[in-house]
């Protein structure tokens, strides 16, 4: 019997018992993003000669962050709400050769961790940030998030959201990330390709993945995925954005110096001197 090919990267059980199936609700987009990410990492390990132990996954807290809770057969950390990026920063400072992939959500990255998101991009630290955007706080019961569209009712906006939604990609690009893209869970091949580009990029790579929360949106995963396809438009296909549609694609892909590379120059210059 053939098993799912990505199970080779997952810890299905251990001495304390089984760890799978995952905690994700049926049809959750976070599980799909994990699947896409493992496909991308699988390709990179085969194509780039990178060792598996060089890849580290870090997350904060939230539905997206549960992906690193204990399923991965990789070095990983399931950390503090909003702080995955500073923790990734620390790991890079200790060992700049690590390939760090951060799973984060719209609440984790844009609200409680918003400042760290901005400054990680500004520093252009070599980390791949996969921001799973479901437009609400799923783990805690469907509250409004910085990415919830105006007008939407949630458990904490029972009369409708009066605030404007954040544009994660614009924020990332403005702050200085090397690579910025947006896809949806309904775009598996494009997302996998982007994750590969992001991991290969020296510098901060931000990939926002619009995702479905069938539980709190009270809809079927299949319908929500169809809607994600219908309400997004590739920036390649259109120069002017059709009203009401969210642009998807690679918004920014540039080469510029990365933090640890620049710091290495300081080390090289100042550690070669004799005793002070």
């Amino acid at each position: 019997m053939k098993r799912h090919p990505m199970l080779k990267y997952l810890k299905e059980k251990g001495p304390a018992g089984p760890r799978m199936p995952t905690i994700m609700c049926p049809g959750c987009g976070a599980g799909q993003v994990l699947n896409y990410t493992l496909h991308a990492v699988d390709d990179i390990l085969r194509e780039d000669g990178i060792k598996k132990e060089e890849v580290v996954f870090i997350s904060g807290v939230g539905c997206s962050s549960r992906l690193t809770s204990h399923y991965l057969e990789f070095d990983s950390g399931w950390t503090i709400h909003g702080r995955a990026l500073p923790i990734a920063t620390g790991a890079l400072l200790a060992n700049p050769s690590l390939k760090i992939i951060v799973f984060t959500g719209d609440g984790d990255a844009m609200a409680i961790g918003g400042n760290h998101f901005i400054h990680t991009c500004r520093r252009n630290l070599n980390v791949t940030i996969l921001c799973i955007n479901n437009g609400l706080y799923g783990m805690t019961g469907g509250q409004v998030a910085p990415t919830t569209p105006a007008g939407i009712a949630t458990t904490t906006t029972p009369y409708g959201n009066i605030e404007e939604a954040f544009d994660i990609c614009k924020m990332a690009e403005t702050a200085g990330a090397s690579y910025v893209a947006r896809w949806t869970t309904a775009h598996p091949r494009q997302t996998i390709k982007s994750i590969k580009q992001g991991v290969r990029k020296r510098g901060s790579a931000v990939i926002e993945i619009l995702s479905q929360c069938p539980v709190h949106k009270k809809a079927s995963a299949v319908d929500m995925l169809r809607e994600l396809k219908a309400t997004t438009v590739s920036i390649k296909k259109t120069s002017c954005q059709p009203k009401g549609k969210t642009p998807i694609g690679v918004f920014c892909d540039k080469n510029k110096p990365e933090w640890t590379e620049k710091y290495q120059e300081i080390i090289t210059q100042h550690s070669s001197r004799e005793n002070r």
Binding site: M1, M24, G27, N35, V222
Partner: protein, 78 residues
């Protein structure tokens, strides 16, 4: 003919795999797993092109398609 394998313990019955199948080779079955989720099943695997989209989109790592080539490589009968 390609073969479909469903891990009944992992499947949560979201049926995204069924929706993405471009050839309608798989569909919802009338079988439930122990948690009460509707399991996907083969409809006409002779239509399956082995694109692996169903494997790619599964949030729960519960589906696998074995192509003839894979089965041959693993020494099974085709």
């Amino acid at each position: 003919m390609n073969r479909l394998y469903i891990n009944q313990d992992y499947c949560k019955g979201c049926l995204i795999c069924v929706d993405v199948c471009p050839k309608h080779a798989i569909g919802a079955s009338d079988r439930l797993n122990s948690k009460g989720y509707i399991l996907p099943d083969e409809i006409d695997m002779s239509e399956c092109s082995g694109c692996m989209l169903c494997e790619m989109v599964c949030p729960d790592f519960a589906i696998a398609v074995e192509t003839d080539e894979e089965a041959y490589r693993h020494g099974g009968e085709t």
